[in-house]
């Protein structure tokens, strides 16, 4: 058999070797694991007919929040997903998920990684009707909302449609600008960064940089505002 050359062996021996315990059943892809990440919407009325089709809104993370009725509820951690979750609730006559679920529907909010989305951007809407599953990106959700809600009255339309676009675009841009420029206290919570990563500064900054490198491309922010990024390069070069 081969002998490992001394120099190579020395090199590898310098790194500490850790043996991790076996991970038996809770690997991703496991049903239990997926259920753990799902937060089900509540039905508004007791007797709602359950259908085969269901949907899940894929978001970065959920946070707990105390509603007016005193119940603890879950809401998505970023404003864009929260907006879409509320639209879904309104349109499907659902209520936000609560901690003490009594009347859960088959639809849910689900924690996913942004890598799950085709354009690396959350929220995504996963529509499941037993036979097929479609994943819709945020652009397609926004387009559908605009199309199906503002097309009945031709005059009212133009005005509402413009306002709708304004909110979708300008407020979204504002959110991205906040993310890029401001020091956000609860960053870990918003993007669901594993608390185990706190142990390693390098690993954590890699994960955070990974998110930042995508943020500027969300809804083509960088393409739409190239001048802002020229300036950033300039800042880097002068400093």
């Amino acid at each position: 058999m081969f002998d490992i050359p001394e120099s190579v062996k020395k090199l590898f021996d310098t790194f500490p070797l850790t043996t991790y315990p076996a991970i038996p059943k809770t690997t991703s892809g496991n049903d239990e694991f997926i259920e753990e990440k799902k937060f089900y919407f509540e039905n508004e009325k007791q007797s709602q007919i359950s259908t085969n089709a269901s949907f899940s809104l894929g978001v970065h993370n959920v946070v707990e929040f105390k509603g007016q009725d005193g119940k603890r509820k879950y809401i998505p951690s970023d404003p864009v997903s929260l907006g879409q979750a509320l639209i879904l609730c309104h349109k499907n006559k659902l209520k936000l998920p609560t901690t003490s679920s009594t009347n859960r529907s088959c639809n849910s909010i689900m924690k996913v990684s942004f890598h799950a989305s085709p354009d690396k951007q959350l929220p995504i809407l996963i529509e499941d009707d037993k036979q097929s599953r479609t994943i819709r990106t945020i652009s397609s959700i926004i387009e559908t909302v605009a199309k199906s809600n503002f097309q009945k009255h031709p005059y009212l339309d133009a005005e509402l449609l413009v306002l709708n676009d304004f909110i979708d675009l300008k407020l979204f841009d504002l959110w991205i600008l906040c993310l890029l420029n401001e020091n956000i206290d609860r960053f870990d919570e918003i993007f669901d960064i594993d608390s185990k990563l706190d142990l390693s500064f390098v690993a954590k900054s890699l994960v955070i940089n990974n998110i930042y490198s995508e943020v500027e491309h969300w809804r083509a922010f960088r393409t739409r505002n190239p001048n802002l990024f020229d300036y950033m390069e300039l800042l880097l070069s002068t400093n």
């Binding site: 031709p154 005059y155 009212l156 339309d157 133009a158 005005e159 449609l161 413009v162 306002l163 676009d165 304004f166 675009l169 300008k170 083509a220 393409t223 739409r224 190239p226 001048n227 802002l228 020229d230 300036y231 300039l234 070069s237 002068t238």
Partner: protein, 337 residues
């Protein structure tokens, strides 16, 4: 002294930036009756701005960037004898803002298409402009950058970039455009073909020219369709607020424009500019929306004459010039704008 920095050369304000044009019109029209001193500098120097974008308005205390901020400041400070802003209801103010966003994020890309991607306009008009705007070594970098930005931006509207032949120096960063199946098949064929003789080569060249022409006209049609959709917002709003179907005028007031309309006029003026070699947008709008085009033309005419009468436009001086020397001074921190 109020100073407005815009794209342009000498006393002429450029059509490559409708925002600059709109800001200049707004400034001259609002300040013509006041005693406030002001000047418009055609510096074409993006370093003046903190966000790398003209127009920039500098007053004694503040520096304002971009049309939206500038228009808000001017209308708030210098009253509104010629424009409506403050007396609009909160709802209409929001609509006004939303329409500005529509222009900046949708019609802007059609403008980019018209200026930088439409190969006839780009090669015969836009590239030549920069020779006038920027002094010797600087005129190479800036237009290529703008050209590349434009190519990326038009794809947001679903317009593919046109092949610009010899002038396509911008690199192959973004070659991942989604071509239609027919093109994919065609292009594969084309690559396999090797010219067998001089005659065959000539035929091949002719064929590829035909194809790029076809692609370009397809893009132009798409562009016109989108533009028509966007302008629909304005005409529908006019119809709603004024109840008049067959004409077009100012949306919120009988006689006075709002800030979104001055920007709309600037965009339509640039899109249908008379010196452009390819005026496909003008020809389309003239037939499709005669009232609209005529109304915009009278407005722009009035503002342009006022710009000439007021005579407040001057070329850049000393440190305002976008020269290499000033760029070096700016980068090293000797000059601050």
């Amino acid at each position: 002294m109020i100073q407005l920095h815009v794209w342009g050369c000498g006393t002429e304000i450029s059509v490559i930036s409708p925002e600059c044009l709109a800001a200049s019109w707004l400034l001259t029209d609002s300040l013509s009756n006041t005693s406030e001193e002001y000047e418009i500098v055609t510096s074409s120097n993006t370093n003046v701005s903190d966000i790398g974008k003209l127009p920039v308005l500098t007053t004694a205390e503040r520096k304002l960037q971009g049309f939206e901020e500038i228009s808000k400041y001017i209308l708030e400070t210098y009253g509104d004898t010629n424009f409506v802003s403050k007396e609009l209801s909160t709802h209409n103010q929001l609509v006004n803002k939303a329409l500005i966003a529509k222009l900046q994020y949708k019609v802007e890309y059609i403008h980019q298409y018209n200026m930088f991607v439409n190969s006839r306009n780009y090669e015969k008009y836009t590239t030549k402009l920069f020779q006038k705007y920027l002094p010797f070594p600087m005129m190479y970098n800036q237009p290529l950058k703008l050209h590349q930005n434009a190519q990326e931006q038009v794809q947001l509207l679903g317009l593919n970039k046109n092949k610009t032949g010899f002038f396509d120096f911008s690199g192959s960063v973004n070659n991942s455009e989604i071509a239609e199946t027919e093109y994919i098949n065609d292009e594969n064929e084309e690559q396999d073909e090797v010219a067998l003789s001089a005659l065959h080569e000539r035929q091949l060249v002719a064929k590829s020219k035909e194809k790029s022409l076809l692609r370009e006209s397809k893009n132009s049609l798409k562009c016109l369709h989108l533009l028509n959709d966007y302008l629909d917002y304005f005409s529908k709003l006019y119809e709603k607020l004024n109840g008049n179907k067959n004409s077009y005028g100012f949306i919120f007031d009988q006689k006075r424009a709002s800030s979104c309309e001055i920007l709309l006029c600037a965009y339509v003026y640039s899109l249908t500019y008379e010196d452009l070699p390819d005026r496909f947008i003008y020809n389309y709008l003239k037939i499709k929306r005669p009232d609209f085009t005529e109304f915009i033309a009278t407005c722009t005419q009035r503002w342009n004459t006022q710009l000439q009468i007021e005579d407040a436009v001057r070329g850049p001086e000393n440190e305002e010039t976008p020269s290499l020397w000033n760029e070096v001074k700016y980068q090293t921190g000797i000059v601050h704008y």
